[in-house]
């Protein structure tokens, strides 16, 4: 009898062992924003790019910390000043079984910049670059000038299949017909406004995902997203609101995954105009723009209690900032530390600048763009008012704010004097904020597009431009760090903090928090 029982147990155990891998594992993820298309080249926007990574691969991939790792290219190197060579991975198959070759890469270069009706495409990363097929698994990419950021740029856009993409429109991708990638998941279903359903690609060349089926559901309303997680309708949600974090930490059914992002929240000041529209003398009269005085800018930075912002406003879900990117990223300076809170020092600097009685200022900011953005602007205003800079707050929806902040004034100049903004370094290294925020606003060179304070320092410009033409990584790193040090020394901008992102999962799951804020099923692991 007992022998029979043992036999049964053994058979059962063997069956179980065989059955276990076959058990379907589904995961449902609640997204905070809705991707607008499955076509990976339709719109260069974070939710779309994160979605594209499920079905498609890029030549170069990025890990959780945006470090570059091999993707569809196994290695890359510059072969001369203006040519990079990418060796492609062999044996990779598209979801329809056809092989991946250099032709697909060359085709992607033409398609990614030329999608009809695309609101904004990948021209930013592809213009001036030409892809040439050397053999089936080697591609040369040529640029007119030396270009060190080639691998970074190659990590931004998905490679699509020439066979399936040549005649395909965006609609064909959305219907699934052309949604043939090399990625870890395959297309199953797309219900616009409701969900994306993908299934595992069992022939994936990389680490196979744990999940057999993935459902991505956009749930924009934050309380509803949290409720969906609590009710068990989804297994994970992106962007847990800071107000719910304390409560969810105590919930035994929920686990949180947190990580610092590449996004710095900072203040931009008017470095340009002698009479700035939102700067007034005490009592409301005209005043020569005091923000052009470095002592005043330093005083503003010293009067801000960054610890209080991080603890109180952000509920500890942020890290105080002293430069453009948190430590660990390429090109950050080891020397720069967050400015200490020093209201007495600030008052003294103001007195030195001849502004003993202070002045009046308005801070403008968005109220639906960054985590707690309006509350941060209010806190900053109160802190400045304490040292004698009487500060009013005006916040508005981002749809109105960014136009006014970038070009709402006369002759398309920035309208405001003192603004709260954020910057996420898409390329994952310091040249991204340096060239857009810090470099002199120069349309012909394409630099300073988001330099809304019109800060301009020829020394910094030169450092940035030299860095962007230096292929040697070590030298470039030093140049970027130096440029950051000089700009922060000038108080070109006032960094406040780096955002920390929070994902919520049911207990037993963990998300590898990403600095680029992307939410992807491959990053969800079982503990």
């Amino acid at each position: 009898m007992s022998r029979v029982r043992i036999l049964f147990a053994a058979v059962f155990a063997v069956l179980l062992a065989y059955a276990a891998p076959a058990i379907a594992k589904d995961i449902k993820i609640g997204l905070a924003s809705e991707p607008t298309s499955i076509d990976p080249h339709f719109h260069n926007l974070s939710p779309n790019n994160a979605l594209a990574r499920h079905l498609f691969d890029r030549l170069v991939h990025t890990d959780e910390n945006q470090a570059l790792v091999p993707g569809l290219a196994v290695s890359w190197k510059p072969v001369n000043d203006t040519t990079w060579e990418f060796k492609l991975r062999e044996g990779v198959k598209w979801h329809d079984g056809s092989p991946f070759t250099a032709d697909d890469v060359v085709f992607t270069f033409t398609r990614a910049v030329n999608v009809p009706n695309s609101p904004s495409g990948f021209g930013t990363y592809l213009k001036g670059k030409e892809a040439v097929k050397v053999d089936d698994h080697t591609v040369h990419i040529k640029t007119p000038k030396p270009y060190p950021l080639m691998p970074n740029d190659m990590s931004t856009f998905s490679i699509v299949s020439k066979k399936n993409g040549e005649k395909a429109s965006t609609e064909d991708y959305n219907s699934g017909k052309a949604a043939i990638g090399t990625g870890p998941f395959k297309f199953k279903q797309y219900v616009p406004g409701d969900k994306f359903v993908y299934v595992r690609n069992d022939d994936y060349w990389g680490d196979k995902p744990v999940w057999t089926e993935v459902t991505l559901k956009p749930i924009k309303s934050s309380p509803s997203r949290v409720a969906a997680l609590l009710a068990g309708d989804v297994d994970m949600i992106a962007q847990v609101p800071t107000t719910d974090i304390e409560r969810l930490k105590k919930d035994p059914k929920i686990a949180l995954s947190q990580g610092v992002s590449n996004r710095v929240i900072y203040l931009h000041l008017d470095h340009d105009r002698d009479k700035s529209p939102f700067v007034k003398a005490k009592g409301g009269g005209d005043i020569k723009n005091p923000l052009k005085d470095q002592r005043v800018r330093t005083a503003i930075s010293k009067s801000i209690n960054r610890d209080a912002i991080v603890n109180r406003v952000m509920e500890d879900v942020a890290i105080k900032a002293g430069q453009l990117l948190p430590k660990g990223f390429f090109g950050v300076s080891p020397k720069l530390k967050p400015v200490d809170f020093d209201p007495e020092g600030a008052k003294k600097l103001l007195a030195d600048a001849g502004l003993k009685d202070g002045f009046e200022l308005t801070i403008h900011g968005p109220n639906d763009r960054y985590i707690n953005d309006a509350k941060i602007a209010e806190a900053v205003a109160q802190m400045l008012t304490r040292v004698g800079i009487k500060t009013a707050v005006e916040t508005m929806p981002r749809s109105v704010y960014f136009k006014r902040a970038s070009r709402g004034g006369p002759d398309k100049t920035p309208e405001f004097s003192f603004i709260l903004v954020g910057w996420g370094a898409g390329s994952g290294e310091a040249s991204s904020p340096l060239k857009s925020l810090i470099h002199t606003h120069d349309k012909s060179k394409g630099f300073g597009a988001s330099n809304r304070g019109r800060y301009s320092n020829p020394e910094v410009d030169k450092l940035i431009e030299t860095a962007l033409a230096t292929v040697d990584d070590a030298k470039r790193q030093d140049l970027l760090a130096k440029a950051t040090e000089v700009a922060i020394g000038d108080v070109a901008i006032i960094p406040l903090h780096y955002q920390v992102n929070t994902w919520g999962t049911r207990k037993g799951l963990k998300y590898k928090a990403r600095t680029d804020e992307a939410t992807m099923a491959v990053g969800v692991v079982e503990e």
Partner: protein, 325 residues
């Protein structure tokens, strides 16, 4: 009646035209869609290219004429965000919203009228008082709060119903809707009730007021005196007469259920038109906003017409053709 309908239709064309001017110029005052669409890493040249590609470099007047020209051939513009025709986007999401609105309307009718009738016939009973107190709550509690509370209680705490989203759909007689599946019905119950709450209260109050007024009128007294059964008095003589204002209001309210279920759809992540509208407003997807509002105007005009025709059926004294519109 045909002449009347034609005249009404011509009036609506004028209304739609005026509406399109107001909406088109209105949305063009607010912000700049390019800032919503462009990747922050883009440089000045990319930004200007995007502005040109969307036709936003042209004066507003010229943009409007271009829009009007296309509109006459049935093209209400292309969404900036999705790149698809705005009309197609709206039509795609319409079934989800319609089923939600119909479910809410049915609740309003089948819960509101009986309760209102009861409260009107027995105004002093404690049940009636409870009904009326409940209807005040239905009026005054904000929809988003009630929605969230329902999710907390029925989805999170009790786990009876799914928290968000639309359920599985099934096709029957060529109509694809989630009303035909159990899973779909489970999903629709909370959002529909949330949407219906205000309408139920409204119908209760209207029905009760109508009943209270009608029971004292001579024809009811006469019907009673004739010895008709109370059943017949209430359900034939009384109900038919108090239904006229109720039908008018329900007709118009159905319009607002379809057009402005924005809050409910957002909270329950319901993939309908309301969610599309609020997303489009937030992201300044101008073509979709304009197309949406034009469709809504058309819908209201049509609903009004239907209500007028129903009137003439319910009340033989109303003759549509004879009225000066």
């Amino acid at each position: 009646m045909t002449a009347y309908v034609i005249r009404r239709l011509m009036q609506s064309v004028v209304v739609v035209l005026i509406m399109s001017v107001i909406v088109f110029f209105g949305v063009n005052v607010v912000g700049d869609p390019v800032d919503m669409l462009i990747n922050p890493e883009a440089d000045q040249e990319d930004i200007e290219n995007a502005i040109r590609a969307l036709g936003l470099d042209k004066p507003v007047g010229e943009q409007y004429l271009y829009f009007l020209k296309n509109a006459f051939s049935g093209n209400l513009g292309r969404s900036f965000i999705f790149g698809e025709p705005a009309l197609q986007l709206i039509v795609q999401r319409m079934p989800a919203t319609l089923e939600l609105a119909i479910a809410a309307l049915l609740m309003a009718v089948f819960i509101g009228i009986p309760l209102g009738l009861y409260a009107g016939l027995k105004p002093d009973s404690s049940t009636s008082r409870t009904i009326m107190a409940g209807s005040i709550l239905g009026f005054s509690l904000p929809t988003f709060w009630v929605g969230l509370m329902m999710i907390m209680v029925f989805a999170v705490m009790l786990g009876w119903l799914p928290s968000t989203g639309r359920g599985e759909t099934a096709t029957f007689l060529g109509i694809t809707t989630s009303l035909f599946t159990l899973n779909g019905l489970q999903h629709i119950l909370m959002p529909a009730l949330n949407l219906a709450l205000l309408k139920i209260s409204l119908v209760i109050r209207l029905t009760r007021a109508g009943t209270r007024e009608a029971v004292h009128q001579d024809y009811i007294k006469f019907a009673r005196a004739k010895g008709l059964s109370p059943h017949r008095v209430v359900f034939v003589h009384l109900l038919k007469n108090i239904l006229i204002p109720v039908v008018t209001v329900i007709g118009l309210e159905f319009g607002s259920l379809v057009a402005f279920s924005v809050v409910t759809e957002t909270i329950f992540a319901w993939p309908g038109m309301g969610k599309l509208l609020i997303d489009s407003i937030q992201q300044l997807d101008r073509p979709v906003i304009v197309a949406y509002l034009i469709i809504i105007v058309l819908m209201f005009v049509t609903l009004n017409l239907i209500v007028d025709i129903l009137y003439s059926i319910l009340d033989p004294r109303v003759r549509l053709g004879e009225r000066e519109a």
